[in-house]
Amino acid sequence: MITITLKPTDVYTWPLSIVDPATGQTEPLPAGEVFTATSTSPAVLATVNAAADGSPELVVKAATLPDANTLGIKVEVTDSTGDVAVDLTVDYPVPAAPGDITLGPASLTQQPAPTAPGP
């Protein structure tokens, strides 16, 4: 399961392909095969576009700014031949605004162990 954390300015793109689970080999796409992408949140837009070489690719990006932290958005890709769908999880948190308190990158240091027992 793929999980991404989406920012409003991010555009994620993945090439799509069809695999035979028995062999693990990529198979050619049947003529006329149509992929469909759906998102469980209107704030996240999922579409299947044609790449420059004509192959299908999944594009996931923000459609609107989030009004609250939205976690666990499900994006699913299906096709017209009924192959096993693929899905991914998108977390779309509210981005920090100027003036917000944020935590910087964590770092680890050590201190002597405390000696006094607890209350």
Binding site: T13, L16, A43, A63, D79, G82
Partner: protein, 138 residues
């Protein structure tokens, strides 16, 4: 004279001496392969003798007619488990039917087109940028 039946109150000298008249009620029932003595099938015509094999496993049979099985009345169509020497003319082996169904399921599975899977090529994932959208979500 000839309508005398065993059990009727007629002198033995007047009883029918035919083969039918010499059998008791239970003996006649046992001769049909559907005995009334609660043992199921003992005495069924053509039944093989007990094998005596202590490892013999009972097999499932359909009852073609109502019968006593282990002393319990069972209706026609019910399934009973019998050793070979207990099988009678009113039992139909159901093993062949089970094999046929299993073969049909296997054939249907083999004939079914396998399902392929859609995959995302994560090795070629691209992250680009766009102008931030304006409106907040609904």
């Amino acid at each position: 004279m000839s309508d005398a039946r065993p059990g009727s109150t007629v002198p033995n000298a007047l009883r029918d001496k035919s083969e039918y008249g010499k059998q008791t009620h239970i003996e006649r029932l046992n001769g049909t392969g559907n005995p009334a003595d609660g043992t199921g099938t003992i005495g069924a015509p053509g039944a093989p003798p007990p094998s005596g094999d202590p490892d013999e496993e009972p097999l499932p049979y359909h009852l073609l007619a109502a019968a006593f099985h282990d002393g319990v009345f069972r209706r026609a169509g019910e399934t009973v488990w019998l050793l070979l020497h207990q099988v009678g003319a009113h039992h139909a082996k159901i093993e062949a039917v089970i094999e046929e169904v299993v073969e049909e399921v296997i054939d249907a599975t083999l004939d079914r087109p396998r399902r392929r899977a859609i995959v995302l090529d994560v090795d070629h994932m691209v992250v680009s940028t766009q102008p931030a959208p304006r409106g907040a979500g609904p």
